[in-house]
């Protein structure tokens, strides 16, 4: 239960900070800002989804995480890391061909990693984990 509360507190803090950033920003939004918002929304959205799943499990009297969910997370981490290597190669290629500022590429890479992690989690969670 402690972990779930921490997930929700951190997500709320990030959302409040992002909201403050959004409403106090005087200059117009550039591409990099939008990419940053994208990163934050994907990461916070995933954290809230995981927190909600754990909370519903606890409410039903089940453990928040068990051997299957731990294995899914481990496999997701390994698989998304492997794919992310190719993503960064692609980012390097695009950076060579275009002329944005460096932090745009880094933000795009981080957003890509977050999206890859979420997709891998969905696929592995749907397909299951067989140790064969």
């Amino acid at each position: 239960m402690k972990k779930i509360v921490i997930i929700f507190i951190v997500a709320a803090l990030v959302l409040v900070t992002t909201g403050l950033w959004f409403f106090t920003s005087r200059s117009g939004f550039k591409l990099v800002d939008l990419v940053m918002y994208g990163v934050i929304i994907v990461v916070v959205g995933f954290a809230l989804f995981v927190g909600y799943k754990r909370l519903t499990s606890v409410r039903k009297g089940e453990p928040a995480e068990d051997e299957l969910s731990k294995k899914v997370l481990k496999r997701t981490a390994a698989f998304s890391y492997y794919i992310s290597l190719y993503l960064w190669l692609a980012v390097m290629y695009v950076a060579d061909k275009t002329d944005y500022e460096t932090h745009v590429y880094i933000s795009a890479g981080i957003l890509g990693m977050a999206v890859i992690y979420a997709i891998c989690w969905l696929v592995i969670n749907f397909r299951g984990v067989r140790n064969e």
Binding site: S57, K60, E62, P63, E67, L68, S69, R127, V129, R130
Partner: protein, 62 residues
Amino acid sequence: MNNRIKEYRARHDLTQDDLAKKVNVRRETIVFLEKNKYNPSLKLAHDIASTFGVTIEEIFIF
């Protein structure tokens, strides 16, 4: 690896929720086991077999 969890669950008149609580896992794990989408750890296999009062070999078919 196949298993006969669904069959034994029906025999003992247990829902997926009931079995999940007895072996201390989430219902999702039982769903995945029944669909043969997950191979359990030795401990979970033992816990499931103990719940039904049979040996692991009777539930899990290698």
